[in-house]
Amino acid sequence: MLAETSAPATRRAWVRRVPGAAGWTLAAGVPLVFLAVFFCWPVLVMVGRGFVVDAAVDLTGFVEVFSRGRTWRVVAATLGQATAATLVCVVLGVPGAHTLYRAGPFAGRTALRAFVTVPFVLPTVVVGVAFRALVQPSGPLGFAGLDHSFAAVVMALVFFNYSVVVRSVGAMWQRLDPRAEQAARALGASGPRVFATVTLPALAPAVVSAAAVVFLFSATSFGTVLVLGGPHYGTIETEVYVQTTQFLNLRAAAVLSVTQLVVVASVLGVAARARAASERALHLVPERAARPERSALGIVAAAVTATVVCLLALPLVALVVRSLRVGDRWGLDHYQALARPAPGIGTSALDAAVTSLRVAVDATWIAVLVGGLLALVLSRRPARRSARRLLAGFDVLVMVPLGVSAVTVGFGLLLSMHHPFGLPVDLRAHRALVPVAQATVAVPLVVRTVLPVLRAVDPRLRQVAATLGAPPRRVLGTVDAPVGVRALGLAAGFAFAVSLGEFGATSFLVRPDQLTLPVVVFRLIGRPGVASSGQAMAAAVLLAALSAVAVAVLEHLRTRAGSVEVRI
């Protein structure tokens, strides 16, 4: 604002010098190059190793892998688990989004929003232990016979991914203009009818987006499935892991990676079509204006959400209980031990927590920058049909990092980051690689959180601004930015949380003297002695608390930044 009043002439001149096309090319180019270098290339190198033998392409691996009965079982199990988990997440998550984002504020709402995100960042190994403590025959839910069952796997996947739906749908819902619903009510429509005919269609793009993300996370989950499902619930992801890390059978691993990619791309394609069919411009309003009245459905949603929150809390309570159990008594001994270097690990959990926070800061800004730019580019609706098609393809491509095995990416980075492009640097052991790899996982989340909101901006607003003489940059600043910044805040919280808890990709990367908290938890739990596993639980509670605080702080910042933008 200051800059504008003091030097309007220079600014306008600058705007004229950078034509729109060049600006958009840059906005698309930066994230594309990032994903190409740190994702596509490593994956291609790794898969290429499996298919190219003695400089000739050899595809007989497909026959070999698909002639095994287990491969088909594994593909079916992957689809079954992911579909079930996605359905349950959507059915439970939409009421959650209403209660936590749409309904009027209530005491502790911010805390609850942060709380539901906690499971998302917990390392799978800890959740596995906490869940098994509940479902195994001697546990409180043991009577249900859930141990090593399909239901246990789906429950755990829902536990992890519930917040994906709540947050993505919530970001949209809280800004939906309530007047459309009010008008329908005034015309005599019942509450459920208004929801089905007015609200749900408006939310559909966000719901489909979130469902796609949940599906991908579920289809590629590794630890959860192994720990809770037992050996019979192997997924494509676990097969890739075994073939790569244990057998070094790159041929089979490449076939499975490609299969995974095909499954993922098909689901994304379907989701993209569903989204395109449902997407339209919505009238969005600032949060505070979008306060609807109480309704019967709202009360039902609140009841569902309260139940879900209690269920989410169960494994977490089990975790806290185990962290406080010292032999036959209760105490804080395991927490006190977090400040000391753990025996045989060399780092204290507190030091690891600091490392985790630093890595997460880097991963977050990278993901927000890359994902924000991508979302901005993807939200455009160019006049040319070819350009629109390009964007649609781009849209699907952006999601692919969620659907590729962490092992494939990790091993691929190992193969491709030694003297990349002939440069005399060895990036394999560089500290920056861990946040970069975590950012590639977070980028799709950022895009999926921001994009539905940007797309819902009525294009007429932009046209009006342009007609009134605003240059393109100004249109972006006054029309898109205020809406985008809020969603970007949410996305940043998500990216931060993903990075804090990320274990899969991180564990396959070279980590020189750089232990993050999930890694320390994993190592503590792998050591003998009840004290070690108690400390692991305490460290996991610390991780959960950190992520909850981080998400709450970002929510707070977001509201502040949002209010600034709106007033400008």
Binding site: L2, R49, V125, V129, R132, A133, Q136, P137, S138, G139, H148, L226, V227, G230, P231, H232, Y241, V242, T244, T245, Q246, F247, L248, R322, G327, D328, P341, P343, G344, I345, G346, L357, V361, D362, L414, H418, H419, R428, A429, H430, R431, A432, V434, P435, S507, F508, V510, R511, P512, D513, V519, F522, G526, P528, V530, G534, L557, R560, S563, V564
Partner: protein, 351 residues
């Protein structure tokens, strides 16, 4: 103006966060005075010990961890032309010949540790001294003695016993496919039953064996004495696990390793082929054999040191005996058959 102030607050907060950045923090030490150690994620020698190496040699140690032992060896194979470090520690019996056959390990230039002779006793058959044994231990079935005493049942003693009716539904093992002790147990059964091992596992399955994903799921969740309130009094673990089950104020562990069910694992170190600092690498191998490290191998990595000149923890002497005649499978046979065995095992659908 108030808006601008808020904006400033937000920006300052963002910059403050960026100050925590890792990339912005000091980078890794890449000077010539560094030796890079590649190891698995159970490596337990802390910075305080490694600092002694730096004090003695002037070389800084950078530790690079690459997942479990199998994942580590396979990553070393993939990066053969451009190794990720100078020296590797943690190549185990089951992956040793793959590392050697693939040419990942180079002969070490002049080693001089006095414990080298002790290490020889554990050398890999057929190796020309490229892999140096550092520590070893047994993977054995562990029993919850309290559980068995309360029921007046004697714990099993052999692999054959595990098929008996009275031990139905009592055993939990980590999966051989995803866990290193799980694979060691599979090898023990292969050594014991030969070609008949699939039948043995089918019988084990019929007798209600449970298969967990990893060691911690088996020990810390399903085992009755692992702190997880589990319901399986028999678990595949290590012979060194029992001393960690001595209750507070007690003098005896509540568990014991069944020494008739053990598979011996040895962990080796070696200089990586194409190492930038092979001399530093050799010094580090010597250091791993020094009393300084050998003395803490037991307490940090739960393995027996190869050196006979260091003292073991008293509770190990009392409660963690080694098997007299552990099962063994020729390492080259393991490398040749690993995938086939594990595929066969997986197709049995055990658990």
């Amino acid at each position: 103006m108030a808006n601008t102030q808020r904006l400033v607050v937000v920006l300052v907060a963002a910059l403050g966060l960026a100050g925590c950045s890792l990339v912005g923090a000091s980078g890794s030490d890449t000077s010539d005075g560094t030796v890079t150690l590649v190891t698995h994620d159970s490596f337990g020698i802390g910075e305080d010990i490694l600092a002694q190496f730096t004090a003695e040699t002037g070389l800084a140690v950078q530790v690079v961890t690459l997942g479990d032992a199998g994942s580590m060896v396979n990553q070393l194979v993939l990066t053969r032309g451009a190794p990720l470090g100078d020296v590797v520690f943690g190549v185990d019996t089951t992956f040793a010949t793959r590392a050697l056959d693939e040419g990942v390990i180079a002969p070490a230039p002049r080693l001089s540790a006095p414990a080298l002779a002790d290490a020889q006793a554990h050398a890999l058959a057929g190796d020309d001294g490229r892999l140096v044994a550092i520590d070893y231990g047994d993977v054995c079935v562990n029993a919850d003695l309290v559980w068995f005493a309360e029921r007046g049942v004697d714990p099993p003693t052999t692999l054959e016993d595990l098929l008996a009716e009275q031990y139905r539904g009592l055993l939990v093992t980590p999966s051989p496919v995803t866990s290193s002790p799980g694979f060691a147990f599979l090898l023990a059964t292969i050594a014991a039953t030969g070609e008949q091992w699939p039948t043995y596992w089918a019988d084990l399955d019929a007798n209600g064996v449970q298969v967990a994903a990893g060691w911690s799921d088996a020990y810390a969740s399903a085992f009755t004495a692992g702190g997880g309130n589990g319901d399986r009094p028999l678990v595949v673990s290590y012979d060194t696990s029992p001393p960690y089950t001595i209750p507070d104020g007690g003098t005896e562990p509540t568990t014991a390793a069944l020494l008739g069910t053990c598979f011996r694992q040895t962990e080796y170190a070696g200089v990586l082929a194409g190492a930038k600092n092979p001399d530093g690498a050799a010094l580090l191998v010597d250091f791993l054999l020094s009393d300084t490290v050998q003395q803490v191998v037991a307490t940090t990595m739960y393995m027996y040191p190869v050196s006979t000149s260091v003292t073991l923890p008293a509770e190990w002497v009392a409660w963690a005996p080694l098997a007299d005649e552990p099962f063994a499978v020729d390492p080259a046979t393991i490398t040749a058959n690993r995938e086939q065995w594990l595929n066969t095992w997986a197709d049995l659908g055990v658990g």
